[in-house]
């Protein structure tokens, strides 16, 4: 067994929270630049220019990319040969989030109770998705998720007879209905299969993939390309001002499912597609 001290986990999560909120990923910035070249609407071109300027200002480390610095969604792949020493893994992740949001001057957006609606004051708890994998390492991904785009998401328990055409209709309709709300240009995460909750999680995981990456299975890779083309014909454009660049990418994730079921899910991500990872 390899020992990993909780203090390492805390400082890693803290750094990832700050980095994710100030430094947009390379693939994401490149895709925004390509969008700027492609965009035909003058208003939307100006909008993309402001978004690109914003990326540069945030990179200086004073002002985060967006004031909505999100719910801290944390994905952990923990090796079966890892022993977490001096504390508890979940507590360490939450402590890392607490420190990161304080030291990074990030907005605290989490309410302790959904009805009472009182802020917890430190942006905890994090949403933690954990997997056990082979090996002696811990991989941690922090993906701060803003409220505006998260609100434009859905799981639909479709009928098996709806088939892939049903999925396409559902995804396109969801993007259309979302309009300007999720801060386009968006990234669209799609889950197909699994159970109700597995399907939702897949759509979220799909957002972790780099913009421009394709599903390893050709059928689903083609589905991603087709959906992206269809979405970019909707005319919604950056911020919903009208234009060609509504989505930067579509990512599909799949899982085996029950003979009676055909779940599909859509999780929308705004143009500040924030996620950073580290391996301990």
């Amino acid at each position: 067994m390899r020992e990993v001290f909780v203090k390492n986990i805390i400082s890693t999560v803290k750094d990832l929270c700050i980095e994710a909120n100030y430094q947009l990923g390379e693939a994401e910035e490149k895709s925004l630049k390509e969008g700027y070249q492609k965009e035909e609407s003058p208003t939307s071109k100006e909008t993309l220019k402001q978004i690109l300027d914003n990326v540069q200002i945030a990179r200086e480390g004073v002002f985060p990319l967006c004031q909505d610095t999100g719910f801290a969604v944390v994905f952990v792949d923990i090796g079966d040969q890892v022993f977490v020493k001096d504390g508890n893994l979940f507590e360490a992740i939450n402590e890392g989030v607490r420190q990161g949001y304080k030291e990074g001057y990030l907005r605290k957006s989490i309410l302790g109770d959904p009805i009472e609606r009182k802020n917890t004051g430190d942006n905890t708890p994090a949403i933690i998705h954990m997997n056990v994998v082979k090996g002696d390492k811990i991989k941690i991904i922090v993906a701060p998720k803003g409220g505006g785009s998260e609100n434009m998401s859905e799981v639909k328990m479709m009928k098996p007879s709806d088939g892939v055409e049903g999925v396409k209709e559902f995804v396109i309709d969801m993007v259309k209905r979302s309009g300007s709300n999720p801060c386009p240009p968006i990234v669209v995460g799609v889950g197909i299969g699994g159970t109700f909750e597995k399907c939702a999680e897949m759509a979220k995981r799909a957002l972790l993939r780099s913009i421009g990456s394709r599903h390893p299975n050709k059928f689903y890779a083609d589905l991603e390309t087709e959906l992206l083309e269809k979405i970019n014909k909707l005319g919604i454009g950056p911020q919903g001002f009208g234009g060609r660049v509504t989505a930067l990418d579509v990512h599909v994730e799949t899982f085996p499912c029950h003979i009676a079921s055909f779940p599909a899910s859509v999780n929308i991500q705004c143009h500040a597609a924030r996620h950073k990872e580290a391996i301990i």
Binding site: E40, S41, P42, T43, S44, K45, E46, T47, Q50, I51, D53, N54, I57, A58, V62, F63, P64, L65, C66, Q67, D68, T69, Y105, L106, R107, N119, G148, G179, S180, N181, C183, K233, L234, G235, I236, G237, Q239, G240, F241, G242, G243, R244, C270, H271, A272
Partner: protein, 185 residues
């Protein structure tokens, strides 16, 4: 893109009438911030016939909830929040003398009518351009209802705050016109 129009608050009817959906503007002057809780209070006061703690006349309301300011800075990142949550309150705020709002996303039919009736304008700031916008805010002071915390009413002094006219007082709506123009079968 033509050069942006420079406008100064408080806005006059003349300026409002000159603005058209799709116009790119830079706003200089003062604006007041308010979100859900502050709107609820303002409308309750107006219903009771009471005077608001600041003069709304000609002013813009910015729908915003910034990130914390670093030491020595006026403000943190300060992009717009979703305007739709204020649909219920916005017509009454316009009736009370405000000349418009700054936010993001479509607002309802009642807001469209109120913008025409009271000569108001709805600007969108670019959602997620929060660091860029923060650079145009030169002062930030508490005006009322400190107990609302992040939702208290504040006054921002701005210089060349970047925004786009999404709904004008003539019924123009960029969210409708823009999408129609670029939609393909």
């Amino acid at each position: 893109m033509p050069d942006p129009k420079r406008i100064t608050t408080p806005l006059t009817d003349e300026v409002v009438e000159s603005l058209k959906s799709g116009d790119n503007v830079l706003i200089t002057g003062e604006m007041y911030t308010a979100r859900d809780a502050a709107h609820k209070r303002m409308v309750e006061m107006l219903d009771r016939g009471e005077k608001l703690p600041f003069n709304l006349k000609g002013q813009l309301i910015y729908y915003v909830g910034p990130s914390p300011a670093r030491p020595g800075k006026v403000i943190g990142s300060a992009g717009p929040t979703t305007s739709g949550r204020m649909n219920k309150y916005a017509p009454q705020i316009l009736q009370a003398g405000s000349k418009g709002m700054i936010g993001k996303g479509e607002m309802g039919a009642a807001v469209t009518e109120a913008l025409k009736k009271y000569k108001g304008v709805y600007f969108a700031a670019v959602g997620g351009a929060a660091a860029l916008i923060a650079k145009s805010i030169t002062a930030n002071e508490l005006v009322a209802w400190e107990e609302l915390g992040a939702e208290a009413i504040r006054k921002y002094t701005v210089k060349d705050f970047p925004a786009i006219v999404v709904q004008d007082c003539h019924g123009g709506n960029l969210y409708v016109e823009g999408v129609k123009k670029y939609q393909r079968a």
